[in-house]
């Protein structure tokens, strides 16, 4: 009984796997015979933005326009057009915003140059600040000395005054106090 159940579950599992693979194959929009053409088409899909769903490339977007763009990409790959020609086809129609990564020219150069320059500058500043902090030793607040800031200097002076007064009080009381206490009693 147990082995039979197990066999059933194995069969079900295999059936599910095969169905999933078949479903994936059926969903695939690719009808290109050559595997390298399919890879090219997939790479092109990833490089083109769906114009009505900003930020999503046509390989991810589920809208009709993205599917139609994918179909055009495959048609043109099959016709032997180059990647640059296919991308230009869409740029001519939708402008440069259809490209997932902007071309390396004009104002777009800023987008290519800014991140590495920014990171390099940030690392440089971090390095310089760390270096100057190390050269100066621990920050004043962490120093064992009590006189570490202007505020503490005031406090120090005040504490000194308190110590002085307390020290005076610890001394034997002056004899002049005696007649006073007698007078009040």
């Amino acid at each position: 009984m147990f082995t039979r159940t197990r066999r059933y579950s194995e069969t079900t599992f295999i059936f599910l796997i095969v169905s999933a693979i078949a479903a994936l194959a059926a969903c695939s929009t690719s009808n290109l015979p050559l595997p390298e053409d399919q890879l090219r088409a997939q790479a092109l899909d990833k490089s083109l933005i769906c114009p009505i769903c900003p930020g999503e490339t046509i390989d991810r977007s589920q809208v009709q326009l993205a599917n139609q763009m994918q179909a055009i990409v495959r048609e043109q790959v099959e016709d032997g057009r180059s990647d640059a020609q296919i991308r230009q086809f869409f740029v001519d129609r939708y402008g440069e915003r259809v490209l997932a990564s902007p071309p390396k020219e004009g104002f777009n150069l800023v987008m290519w140059i800014a991140p590495p320059v920014g990171i390099t500058l940030a690392l440089l500043v971090l390095f310089l600040v760390t270096k100057s902090m190390l050269r100066q030793g621990p920050t004043p607040a962490l120093r064992p000395s009590n006189a570490s800031s202007e505020h503490d200097v005031d406090l120090e002076a005040y504490l000194e005054l308190v110590d002085k007064e307390l020290g005076e009080r610890d001394d034997p009381p002056p004899p002049a106090e005696k007649p006073d206490t007698e007078g009040t009693a």
Binding site: P54, R93, R97, L121, S132, Q136
Partner: protein, 199 residues
Amino acid sequence: MAEQDNITQEERPANHRKLIAMVAVAIPLIALFAILGVALGRSGGVPAGIAINSAFGEVDVDPDMARDFVVTTFGGQQLRLSDLRGQVVMLDFWGSWCAPCRQEAPALAAAYPGYKAQGVEFLGVAIWDVESEAKRFALESGAGYPMGVDTKGNIAIDYGLTGIPEKYFIDVDGRIVRKFVGPVSDEILESVFSEILTN
């Protein structure tokens, strides 16, 4: 007192470091906002709704030849845009699922016969639509001008459409001379056609 002097001297480089750190943070932030601002300006802002042109008005066009296409009209005829050369053409992209398109359809249907008599042709192309739905709506609206569905989406892509309704006004030589996004009023139609026809 001498100790206090030492402290202020120690604080000076600390303030200096603070300033450097603030500048180091501020510059990339300002640059980021500047890039975002420029990008937003170039993209024409954020679209209000997917595939529906909610921003109405005229869009500047460089007079260029209208890309040719063939559409099968609801009457079953194969109509090529270039076959209409010699007439002023209003190419209207619409969809049965698009509320502004449905709203302006009766006005377009009513205006068509008058302009047809002046040598103007209307051509309606339904995009991202189901043929049966588009056909049913076309019949309901009573439009007498040729209409069809862009079944493969090639026409919409050729015209770089991102939303409807959108209208292209094409002169007798087949050049796009005016373009409007969103629905157009009778007054706009009249002024555009009178200008194109007098030229």
